[in-house]
Point group: C2
Chain length 350, copies 2
């Protein structure tokens, strides 16, 4: 397979992009095609130990920045690394795209150039969410692509997230939870109530729906697939980040506040580093954009080589285990469930 890497997206591009690709080139036997400024990429590549037969470069003269307006940028910057990368995937010359660039542009580019999976109205951004007490990760979907969602969107997020967790992250029969303000089925907005009904039906189609989950259950690992609209998902992700930062700051302050505390800290430092690492996005291999007709992974904008490498490694099962085909199949199953849910009750009793 051929993995397309946007060499110019992200805060530390192209250096960390190329370095990540170089490391990955020695770990997997697939072609990694880096798209971007050929001269710069070649210079970076020369600095890093890599497997030449697994790396290729495609020159692109333009870069889409974080300041660019997504729709305008995708239409105007035809020779950008992102647009050229997406076109390779569209034309069958690449199996998937990874980019640490402008999130809006990646989503828009995916929609405009690759298109949606038939039946999926709203593609979503899935993001790894750390479950501290288990040392595992869950998938939060949607992490911020759609501020408001209908019940059917949430149903699709659940199906797509389940497939990703099973096929890419290797979680068997992943538990799906719907974020709500209470565990009872009748809680929350009309969209959430309806989604609870659809997801309950979807158990018959293989979705392991465990019901509504509350905010307090999310970090404790109540679900492997955390389903919510993009507003709630964005708040969950960023609040977790802010609280982690805030608590780490307080701990550091504590540990340096007196000589006794400093001595205590010496013993605990390795353990604290483990806690900090649990909050480290670079370990998780990026965020899949699910619902697009081809595999696309958004890597964190601040990604270092480690994050890029992990994203590339996750690309392999994303493509090889047929995630897109499985989602296409799931959409058809979900359509049957929706049709059933729409029948009047009297008819269902017959």
């Amino acid at each position: 397979m051929r993995i397309i890497l946007d060499g110019m997206g992200g805060d530390h591009a192209p250096a960390e992009m190329v370095k990540g690709a170089a490391i990955a080139s020695k770990l997997i036997e697939h072609e990694i095609c880096i798209v971007g400024d050929e001269g710069k990429i070649k210079r970076e590549l020369a600095k890093n130990d890599h497997e030449p037969k697994n790396i290729s470069i495609l020159h692109a003269s333009e870069v889409i920045t974080n300041e660019d307006k997504p729709v305008k940028a995708i239409r105007a910057k035809k020779d950008s690394s992102l647009v050229k990368g997406l076109m390779l995937v569209k034309n069958g010359e690449g199996d998937m795209l990874l980019s640490a660039g402008n999130s809006g542009a990646i989503m828009t580019g995916g929609l405009l150039l690759l298109g949606r999976i038939a039946g999926i109205e709203r593609p979503a951004l899935g993001s790894a969410y750390p479950i501290l007490n288990r040392g595992t990760v869950a998938l939060l979907i949607d992490a911020g692509a759609n501020s408001e969602c209908k019940a059917v969107n949430l149903l699709h997020f659940a199906a797509m997230g389940s497939i990703y967790m099973e096929k890419v992250m290797g979680v068997r029969n992943p538990a799906v939870g719907l974020v709500n303000m209470g565990t009872e089925p009748g809680k929350g907005s009309n969209a959430l109530k309806e989604a609870h009904g659809l997801l309950s039906e979807a158990k018959n189609a293989g979705i392991n729906f465990v019901g509504n989950i509350e905010g307090r259950d999310v970090p404790l690992g109540a679900a492997d697939v955390i389903v919510c609209d993009g507003m709630v998902g964005n708040v969950i992700l960023k609040l977790t980040e802010g609280l982690g930062f805030s608590i780490m700051g307080m701990l550091t302050q504590m540990f340096t506040s007196s000589t006794g505390a400093k001595i205590g800290a010496l013993f605990l430092l390795p353990k604290l580093k483990a806690l900090k690492a649990a909050f480290d996005y670079t370990e998780y291999g990026g965020a899949p954009i699910l619902g697009i007709s081809h595999p696309v992974i958004k890597i964190h904008g601040a990604s270092n080589a480690n994050a890029v490498m992990n994203g590339i490694l996750k690309s392999v099962p994303f493509v090889e285990n047929g995630v897109i085909a499985q989602i296409e199949d799931a959409v058809r199953k979900m359509d049957v469930i929706r049709a059933g849910a729409e029948r009047p009750e009297a008819e269902q009793d017959v």
Copy 2:
């Protein structure tokens, strides 16, 4: 003034309710009227040192439990401690009500028996939110009463929250932030975009609006008044609780994982207790229900005497500093702002 305390609401009623009232009776020169089972309350009172002239008891034979349906319970249980307490406030025989009971019943009882402040369509639950790095608290509003909100509801939450933070919590010119998925004014749902516009206008009416805030800014103290709909507010509160619990659990595990770590922990234990205390709701004096025509404070269901006492102490400025009258005044100012916002742009330019 006369503070009405629901003696029978909460997981530890009446014992902790009465104990909290007993402690408070020695700290403030106001009457605390405990409503509930007279025999039980008298027995509990006898166990606790208190100032008799500051405590009275009103017998109520029924109790609304957490299992009761709010509307039905308020209508059917006329002799419950909650309904009798609310009726005292309605009839001018009490200045405010505190209860640790069924949240839905308190909100419903407030709406049905006391009524809304004119112009407020949706009363909201305000909850203290700990700002760890500063050792202060912010007010999160709405903490879960309204799952979906219109822009005008959010505007009212901002106005009511500002008044509460200033008059009860003593924060001068409190900073108001609107929780959104990005800081730019154009982010989020239509309701959030419209709310951003209204709140920007409301700066002229004395609301210190600092703009959109993201999830990561919330625990770092970007705003003293954190404005959001009840779904997002509920997720913020409960996720914070869950993460605090999860991180504390990991730290405890770390600190007992080896002899060295145990020695280290000895030095750090007092500091950790301080961090744990920051997550402790009992210090914050309960959650005001704002938008009801009389002061009502909901105390946490698991409240101990300390939480009850703090709730009673916060009642004094809530009543004495005229929070309700100030909200009535603010609603009129907000109406003017909304009328201005609805005028077409051309007219505004004249």
